[in-house]
Symmetry: C2
Subunit: 221 residues, 2 copies
């Protein structure tokens, strides 16, 4: 019985890692489709989002079954509760990747944002993918030092997000409204993806330490 229980808990962790890997692959492809205006890649990202959603539902069902049958306590309980909360953030990260790919597909064969701010988006995208890889490691190892690194990377994403707004609102910006809308949304998707990574990192700290970190995030427009 005890052995089965430990096996079930291990499976919770393995499922979280597997979903985080799907999300990472999805964002990597979404960023590439966005940067290179690759409509085939964009469509594959959009088509694969269901996989992430299904895996999240399965993980949730698995976690609730453990709560019902095993009545875990202490760290085991924290693992199951954290998994339930982390899974919904992972699901939203998948959605952000899909949204980005949808913009790339919609604008094809054009690129979504004009040349001048493409380097900024490229950098944001690379940071998002990097953070998502860190998240996979954090979920695998539960090494809370990685959580701090994720927060540091998020500061960089926030700075780039703000710089997009500065560019869009500057006098030199002479783009059509459609481009302004797309740049605004793309930047927000990339920033929210990073926020969710930070939110998961906080939950992993709770899992390791038992110290509950508020799920709230700094407010950004």
């Amino acid at each position: 019985m005890r052995e089965l229980f430990q096996q079930e808990l291990l499976e919770v962790q393995e499922r979280l890692v597997a979903i985080a890997e799907l999300v990472t692959a999805s964002m990597a492809d979404a960023v590439e489709s966005f940067n290179k205006s690759d409509v085939t890649l964009a469509e594959s990202v959009i088509a694969r989002d269901n996989q992430i959603d299904d895996a999240v539902v399965e993980l949730d069902e698995h976690a609730i079954t453990i709560l019902a049958r095993q009545s875990p306590v202490a760290k085991d309980l924290r693992l199951v509760v954290s998994a339930l909360r982390i899974s919904s953030s992972l699901e939203r990260m998948g959605d952000m990747a899909e949204h980005l790919a949808q913009l790339a597909r919609y604008r094809f064969p054009e690129k979504v944002v004009p040349k001048t701010i493409r380097p900024t988006f490229k950098e944001m995208g690379a940071l998002d993918v990097e953070m998502s890889k860190m998240l996979v490691e954090l979920l695998k190892t539960q090494d809370t030092a990685i959580a701090q690194k994720i927060r540091d990377e998020d500061d960089k994403v926030d700075a780039l997000h703000l710089s997009v707004f500065e560019t869009v609102l500057s006098d030199t910006w002479s783009q059509e409204a459609e481009t302004t809308v797309d740049a605004t949304l793309a930047s927000r998707y990339l920033e929210r993806f990073a926020d969710h990574a930070v939110s998961i990192a906080k939950k992993m700290v709770y899992l390791s330490t038992g110290e509950w970190n508020p799920p709230t995030e700094p407010i950004r427009i």
Copy 2:
């Protein structure tokens, strides 16, 4: 012991209702500050968001304590798990109200969006407040018929959200980039608020029926 347990479960529900009431008041004020360019009201919304965040953290701690001490099963377990998932959606709804108020404050004494699309935003805001009130009732009564009404209202919000984009991307739109950015973000905040309400409604259906509804939402840009 059993009596204490029932009392604790009742408290979970009461806390959810109380947070939903805070969120409803916050969105009502945010919408009014946005419509009327009322900076004092906007600032009160922003100042009060901490209350919502704190109440969410307290509810989560309460729910986890119940899981640890009482090891609930069946419908009791569903209530506690649902509360943990619903609370994070309520927290995000509070954030959306705050974001809307921040736009109103930032643009004061100007209004955020130009006269031509103000009626659309007014309608979206009124629908969001209405949905939030329905949510309070749903959490109080667990009457799943209300869940369907919330979904119906969300369809209206989505249609208005699309109409904002149609306006912004039409040939007659001659606003500055700042106004385009603000209209894009405001519309997205209002639409996300409604999405979270639907997401909570689905979780309440799970609570009542035991039928797990995927936490995913239809993908919208």
